[in-house]
Amino acid sequence: MNSRKDTKIRAVIVDDEELARQVIRELLAPHPEIEVVGECANGFEAVKTVTEAKPDLIFLDIQMPKLDGFEVLELIGTGSAIIFVTAYDSYAIRAFEVHAVDYLLKPFGADRFEAALERAKERLDSKSPSAAVPATELAATARPPAQYLERVPVRDGAQVFIIPVAKLDFAEAQDDYVALSAEGKKHLKQQPISSLEAALDPSRFLRIHRSYIVNLERVAKVEPYGKDSHVAVLRNGVQLPVSRAGYARLRAFLDR
């Protein structure tokens, strides 16, 4: 990647307003080294396009139909350099927490845009577009305090599923992934279980085991299993192991 001068920077523009995309397109026109490989008007399209085109640089609006900018970023990972483009200044801190290259406030002029582009190039010239921290983890830490996850976006190839947390039965850690069980289906998501745990409302979801988070509403009963371990039986009959620490947490919750 150190010979960036030979290859073009491939960029994707994501904004639901055609005129907003037009501004960026126009400001990119004097830059032959940058090639716009896709334009998207909503979050689903963005995930699909980015997954397929694997661009180097993404201009990303925040408030859009289907998925907001942060949710898009959570799904596509940090393979690309991100420049947020929005009329809202209140997301700036969050944007930098997810290692965005820059944060452009609408309306912006050519100078400001050039500066953002410069930063993006610098970022692309250094080895990796951003730190090796998975985007999902960043997105979880960047979540505003006292606001828990209401829905979990999951990507399967270029397809996106939205799982409202109320429909989530339990989550199981599988290596680098979590398997989310909802309505009898399992969805794999690349995210450490601990960061999912942190994003979920602790009064509704409990880590009952090193590898399991359960939706407390789904727990039908907890039975002893073996000498000093337990199993949680869900309403749909699924049995989940409960560790000793998990059992203590469960008891503490039930006693409250």
Binding site: D16, E17, E18, L19, A20, Q22, V23, E26, A41, N42, G43, Q63, M64, P65, K66, L67, D68, E71, A87, Y88, S90, L105, K106, P107, F108, G109, P144, Q147, E150, R151, I162
Partner: protein
């Protein structure tokens, strides 16, 4: 908090007021019981000091039995019984005191002379106690009326606050920023259109600024403000939205608070249309019925849209508070979600230039 016990200065004043009472009691004791001046004063001073404190406790019974909530008979019964008990105890103390004085051979024969004054003591005790009771009731009434006034004041301040907040929120800055961004896009691609949008935005802003000073405007004027807003959004959203209007002729002349509906239409955009890939519609209905003006703003939205973290429901809350503050029970505000439709229904008194129709 006891009105007298809570402050030392008040307690001192109160005790001072008892000095003439003590003098009066001394006179009565001397006149009816044939006590000497020294005897009468020696008896009346400590007795009055004691009774001054006993009467302080009448406050608690007054507060426990507010005059408005019990019948007069019940009040009389309770306080008369209390006064008799207090008075009886007082007489016992008087007897004890006289006994002590006699025992110390200060005033020989005082006990027997005191027994002649018992009816006087009883009467005085009852009257003084009941007097305190009525004093406290007057105090409580004054306090209650002051409190009511403070509450009314608070309500007025709250109403004005709601108005001010509403006026401050009249132009959503993000609407402005996004519109400016659209203009910035148009300047190179379609300069005449950019100019048109500047004019439309200017028109909308001028109208909103002017309206802030008026207390009510005809519905027609509010609707034309909405049209100015929609003209700007039309350029931003292109064909992504459709506006339907269904407004009864007689409703157009009715008074509405300025900028009551515009925030609702704006809400329909930020929380509805903006989240719909294929676009959607906003419908505005207004009609008069039975002396009320009823208005409905309905729009389509995506139930699975990403949760908005901004100004969520602020516009709606503002409109509701303004209606409440201005019309109280005479206005209603209802929000309904049904599938992919969101609607806000408002009714307010149908008035024209402040007069009911």
């Amino acid at each position: 908090m006891h009105p007298i016990l809570s402050r030392l200065s008040r307690l001192a004043l109160y005790l001072l007021a008892w000095i003439p009472l003590a003098a009066l009691l001394a006179y009565l004791l001397a006149a009816t019981g044939g006590l000497s001046r020294r005897e009468a004063i020696s008896m009346s001073l400590p007795l009055c000091l004691l009774y001054a404190f006993v009467c302080l406790f009448a406050w608690y019974s007054c507060r426990a039995l507010p005059s408005g909530r019990s019948t007069i008979g019940k009040l009389l019964e309770v306080h008369l019984a209390a006064s008799l008990v207090a008075s009886g105890l007082w007489i016992l103390c008087a007897e004890l005191l006289a006994y002590v004085f006699t025992g110390m051979s200060l005033f020989p024969g005082l006990t027997s002379r005191l027994s002649r004054t018992i009816p006087i003591l009883l009467g005085t005790g009852v009257i003084l106690y009941l007097f305190s009771v009525s004093f406290y009731y007057v105090l409580l009434a004054v306090e209650a009326s002051q409190e009511a006034e403070a509450r009314a004041m608070e309500a007025r301040v709250f109403a004005r606050d709601a108005e001010l907040r509403a006026l401050k929120a009249q132009v959503n800055p993000h609407f402005l920023f996004n519109s400016l961004n659209s203009i910035s896009a148009l300047t190179t691609s379609d300069a005449p259109k950019a100019r048109e949008m500047c004019v439309l935005l200017g028109d909308f802003l001028r109208r909103t600024l002017g309206l802030g000073e008026k207390s009510t405007i005809p519905l027609e004027e509010e609707i034309s403000l909405i049209h100015a807003f929609l003209a700007v959004e039309k350029i931003r959203f292109g064909t992504r939205f459709r506006m339907e209007e269904n407004i009864a002729r007689e409703a157009l002349a009715m008074d509405v608070p300025p900028l009551l509906l515009q925030p609702l239409v704006e809400n329909a955009f930020t929380h509805g249309i903006a989240n719909l890939v294929e676009g959607g519609w906003v419908r505005l209905d207004a009609r008069c019925q039975n002396g009320a003006l009823s208005i409905v703003v309905e729009n389509t939205f995506d139930p699975d849209a990403p949760p908005r973290r901004q100004r969520n429901g602020m516009g709606l809350l503002n409109v509701r508070q303004r209606l409440e503050a201005r019309y109280g029970d005479r206005a209603s505000f209802n929000v309904r979600t049904e599938g992919d439709r969101f609607s806000v229904s408002i009714t307010l008194p149908a008035e024209r230039e402040g007069r009911a129709t």
